[in-house]
């Protein structure tokens, strides 16, 4: 695939048209959890509920295992996956604690101290990535 200009930003997935196409059914599943009746049905039987959404096997597994970063890699968008997290009682900040691998407390502490600095976080080479 042609490289995109934003591919060099580390630790970031840009939800573009390609991701949106790939993640369509996954995201529509996630957003269905905005409504209580759907959350009830999902929580009663996750596998059966997921049958209504023709997502890939990999996406389905990532949902069942709550692999938050993998969900984004497979076309999920944070405003959608956050509805699945909210269903599990995980708010945005705690979800970020998990996605960054920092854990909830250190993440919260970092935010209180002014957040993650831009220095050393501009280019994949800063992270020792290609």
């Amino acid at each position: 695939m042609t490289e995109k200009e934003y591919d060099k930003i580390p630790g970031t997935i840009v939800f573009d048209a390609d991701k949106s196409r790939e993640g369509y059914h996954l995201n529509q599943f996630c957003i269905s959890l905005r409504l209580q009746k759907n959350r009830d049905a999902f929580n009663k039987n996750e596998e059966a509920y997921l049958d209504a959404y023709p997502m890939s096997k990999e996406q389905r597994e990532a949902v069942l295992k709550r692999e938050w970063n993998l969900l984004l890699e497979l076309g999920g968008n944070i405003y959608y996956t956050s509805k699945l997290a909210a269903n599990d009682g995980i708010n945005f900040q705690n979800l970020a604690g998990q996605m960054t691998g920092m854990g909830v407390d250190s993440y919260r502490e970092m935010m209180l101290k002014g957040g993650r600095s831009i220095e050393g976080n501009r280019d994949k080479s800063d992270w020792g990535e290609d």
Partner: protein
């Protein structure tokens, strides 16, 4: 004739709404966030606008992945606060100035901004949080002190409209509003931002220096701000910082020379840098 008196830039962090709705704004964590809006609320009372033209983004609430309009103008009579997964916010329904909204819709399309017209739409925190921070607590069975015309912008799926496009849309919105014959005071809001990244391994990014420079540009060099590239927003302000293009719609609807009457900046509110500015059109 209707007239745009001023513009307001303002973040719309959902947690700010939750803090107001649960009555914890006096807590240490939230105090500095709300302190910066005290002056704004007094200013709003003095301005007493008839209509607020409110530029915001929907967070997959009214528009999920099935339909993603770049610009959608609310033309219905009223808009109910949506259930975003934790129950609707306990705030009043938002009432439109429907006749003016229809006039704007028509004027924009004839000026080659082909917007989507929404006659039914629920509104999420992106729209109600800025109203709450600027007006203060308004009870659910009360009414918002002004009518609201919502303009919803896609900033969720890349690419959001360019800063330049937004700035020019602001100019077209001004022409539309100021060709409406009723004498009305209008304030335009540009909401969202400032730097924040909610997702993946770089989540938590905040770039205060960049944000403050953006606030400076809002006052002094809006044309310069309109030329900021998407790559710069994504890299320097985090994947969700690109919401700031919506401030340019507000800025485009003002005079080139404005008076900055108030500014507020604070980190953090949840994962986000809170930014706020009030700009008055010079007479």
């Amino acid at each position: 004739m209707a007239k745009i008196m001023a513009g307001v830039g303002c973040s719309h962090v959902p947690a700010i709404g939750v803090a107001m709705d649960t009555g914890i704004t006096h807590e240490e964590y939230w105090k500095p966030v709300f302190e910066g809006f005290k002056k704004s609320r007094e200013w709003m009372k003095k301005q007493n606008p008839d209509v607020i033209f409110l530029v915001y983004n929907d967070h997959c609430t009214a528009f999920d992945a099935r339909c993603i309009p770049t610009f959608a103008l609310g033309c219905g009579a009223e808009f109910q606060p949506a259930d975003e997964g934790w129950g609707p916010r306990p705030v009043p329904a938002v009432k439109n100035h429907q006749k003016m909204a229809s006039h704007i819709a028509q004027s924009l399309v004839l000026n080659e901004f082909d917007i989507t017209i929404m006659n039914e739409m629920e509104v999420d925190h992106g729209l109600t949080v800025p109203l709450s921070v600027m007006f203060g607590d308004i009870k659910q069975n009360d009414e918002w002190p002004a009518l609201v015309i919502p303009l919803c912008v896609n900033v969720v799926q890349y690419p959001a409209p360019t800063g330049n496009r937004c700035y020019n849309l602001g100019k077209a919105i001004r022409r539309a509003i100021e060709s409406y014959e009723e004498d009305l005071n209008v304030i335009i809001f540009g909401t969202g931002g400032m730097s924040h990244q909610l997702q993946y391994k770089r989540a938590g990014l905040i770039n205060s220096d960049w944000d403050k420079r953006f606030l400076d540009l809002m006052t002094e060099d809006p044309v310069g701000a309109s030329q900021i590239t998407h790559l710069e927003y994504l890299r320097e302000t985090g994947s969700e910082g690109i919401e700031m293009v919506m401030w340019l719609i507000m800025r485009g609807a003002l005079n080139e020379n404005v008076t900055e009457v108030h500014r507020h900046y604070h980190v953090p509110a949840s994962n986000t840098a809170v930014g706020h500015i009030i700009l008055e059109n010079n007479a």
